[in-house]
Symmetry: C2
């Protein structure tokens, strides 16, 4: 009865607050959809800078662009935060040829690319291939592996509704496939690209060597060429000629780009919003993660344009090195810890600039429950769920350091792996409205966290 | 208390049934995502047939393709249903040039296309333009209109979250703009294309003349050229040279393509699923509505592949003439009425082959309430809402004739008007998984309606 009475007393205030919030989020939406700069900024980043792997001259350009743009988009303060980053270079002249051992089928050059962090070979490797469906088959046939190039045919499971689930399941072949094969004496590996796209663009991405085994070259094949190699290997003995030039140079200097708006009530409590500025070298890094970068700055711009003064300090962070080291994120959390900062929330956009559908959350049940009533405020803009699980590779370090609650923007994922880490991750494959709607939902969520805490 | 008791008794059965349904819908999903033919069928329709306006030779080809494919995709019976259709032809050599009256700015050819059903001019019309924001401005300036070409600048409202809402608001300029201007003596009109796309492709679509006024030519401008004309008209007097060749020939014969699976329990009660086979002439009609066509046949294929025997008879209908007359749909409902058929439900897919998000419903509140518990069965596949309002232009005739409850597939709409009725509505702009997921949700909904009725 007491509870009911309390509810009756409090209800009008809740309703009022919700109206106020709903009005303000509509203002944010109108501002972003009408005057948003994110699309044009993305054009600058992708077309004027282009691919920008940590350590590359393009990444230095990107940092300067980020610093300048961060100030223009409404941050009161913008600066670079230095960190050491890995420095992998692809080199030039990579080539993968396939032929049957009996010579009956003409040699074909495959559309392939070296996996990120993989090391090249001093000269062309020519070896028979052993084509396996997965690690289980590799283990069963381990005695056949010595001196061969292993081809892993493990593709996405098409029955998964969320392609990210498939990426989670098949990603292990890219990351660990080389060392698992090298353990049995393989001299190189090829994987099926982590995609369901029907084109033939090969997809790169991070791999790691296990120091216990030889560091053999590793490449990824386009979808059609993967089919070709797999089918050829079903009926013939196949050999491959493989030449790659990857090199891991000494660590070098990189920077996070950080913008800040000071909190009016809790200046020492931080909300972080971010995406990563680096990208793989072979594309423009539009969806991965140019879109997260420009959405982050769009939130800053919209707050400024509406004269919104946040209670908490807000940091807009363009992380230096998500793709092959997360060293930028590590540094950001490390410095925050040294300075004994209080980090109350972090939000990341690193799943493409597609129509927003949900936020994935890493936080306590109590915090998640607190967020649920906000769902109806965000639903008109596309957010249909606030679900457990998610966040982001970069903001993950804040959670480890401070137990900071995390949210990751989860846009519709069906097209993401068509372009992810491939040469077609270009500006032209980003839709302006989808991109801006992501920023609308991000701005709305940050506003609510800033206003009500977690 | 009685109700509670009943609930306690019934609950386990409900739970059981939901499990069974959930298992079967998962099977449908797996079948479609693993073995779906829709994408390859769409490639055939768009690349082998191409644009296929009612009355065109391509539409005859499309009907033959549809009939053959309908049988191959699992219909027990497939046939053509004759109807008369309008026969508009664009002709060739359309040209729109713009220049300033003072000759200070060089003449520019605009990327323009005649609106569907509009009539050409016997010779080039050269006239000053009067550029207006909307009908309100036209009315205010009606005395200036005589002898001029009216340019309507009414574009989409970017703050609408759903582009279909914007289309609803601005579509009236395409449909009625010509006669509203002709009333005041205009000699031609130009409109801003109904799109928010940043490219310059002009978008066609149906217009209608009011017989009380002269039938003047009407064209649509690409987005960039619309901006150009509008801005030019703000600072200079502008004239336009306009030549179009549209002709409305005598009505001709067209056909709906109909496939059927006979119901095992209620063979005389029909569920209709459909999309429209016709498209505008200047594109491949991929999203509009090749995707609806192939999704419709995918549902048929998946039912057959899983050995599903529906209780009700199911009709898979490829409508003959959605774009400029809806005569196929009219005929379908007319024949059904003559035969005193019972139509218990109809589902249409005509909003693009994008990731499914909801179904829009036209039915009684009681029917809508009956559907709500199904939401959790469809949610894993993308359907987040079952909302009032929606259906489709073709199945609308069944609702008028029989009060048949309707559902329309509502995919994510952000990209639809980038390609709608424009030359870039091509196969390459359809994503395979998004297309198949639409079919999954359609199949699931039809299965539930078939099993439980409405």
């Amino acid at each position: 009865m007491k509870k009911l009475l309390l509810l009756l007393l409090v209800a009008p205030f809740i309703a009022n607050a919700q109206d106020e919030d709903s009005i303000f989020i509509k203002k944010l939406s109108d501002e972003i959809l009408r005057n948003g700069k994110a699309y044009n900024l993305l054009r600058q980043l992708t077309k004027q800078v282009g691919g920008r792997l940590a350590g590359s001259p393009q990444m230095v350009q990107a940092e300067q662009w980020g610093l300048k743009t961060m100030k223009e988009q409404g941050a009161e303060l913008a600066y670079l935060q230095e960190c050491m980053v890995p420095h992998w270079v692809r080199g030039t002249g990579d080539k993968v040829l396939v032929s049957t051992i009996d010579g009956k089928i003409a040699t074909k050059q495959l559309d392939a690319c070296a996996l990120g962090n993989s090391l090249g070979c001093s000269k062309t490797i020519i070896a028979d291939i052993i084509a396996v469906a997965d690690f289980d088959e590799l283990e069963k046939r381990k005695d056949e592996v010595k001196g061969k190039i292993v081809y892993y045919n493990a593709g996405f499971n098409p029955t998964n509704i969320r392609p990210f689930k498939s990426y989670g399941e098949s990603g292990i072949y890219r990351r660990n496939g080389a060392s698992r094969a090298a353990k049995y004496g393989a001299v190189g590996i090829m994987i099926r690209s982590l995609t369901e796209s029907t084109d033939n663009n090969p997809h790169t991405g991070s791999m790691v060597y296990n120091d216990s085994f030889p560091k053999i070259p590793a490449v990824s094949l386009g979808f059609q060429d993967a089919d070709y190699v797999w089918q050829l290997s079903r009926k013939s003995s196949v050999k491959v000629s493989l030449l790659t030039h990857g090199q891991m140079l000494s660590d070098t200097i990189g920077h996070n780009v950080i913008g800040e708006i000071k909190g009016s009530e809790f200046p020492d409590e931080y909300i972080t919003i971010g995406g990563h500025l680096d990208s793989w070298d072979l594309a423009e890094g539009a969806h991965d993660d140019g879109t997260g970068v420009v959405q982050t700055m769009e939130v800053s711009r919209a707050f400024k344009a509406l004269g919104y003064k946040p209670k908490h300090s807000i940091r807009f962070v363009l992380f230096a090195n998500e793709e092959n080291g997360t060293r930028g994120a590590e540094k950001y959390a490390e410095v925050a810890k040294e300075k004994k900062e209080k980090h109350i929330f972090a939000l990341e956009s690193d799943a493409g600039g597609f129509t927003p559908r949900s936020f994935g959350l890493t936080m306590s049940n109590a915090q998640m429950e607190k967020m649920q009533p906000w769902l109806k405020l965000l639903k008109p803009y596309g957010t249909e769920d606030l679900l457990a699980g998610g966040g982001g590779a970069d903001i993950g370090f804040l959670n480890k350091a401070f137990n900071t609650p995390l949210a990751g923007l989860e846009p519709d994922g069906q097209r993401y792996f068509d372009v992810h880490h491939a040469r077609n991750d270009v500006f032209e494959n980003v839709n302006k409205r989808e991109l801006l709607l992501g920023a609308v939902n991000m701005a709305g969520l940050v506003y609510l966290v800033d206003k009500y805490g977690l």
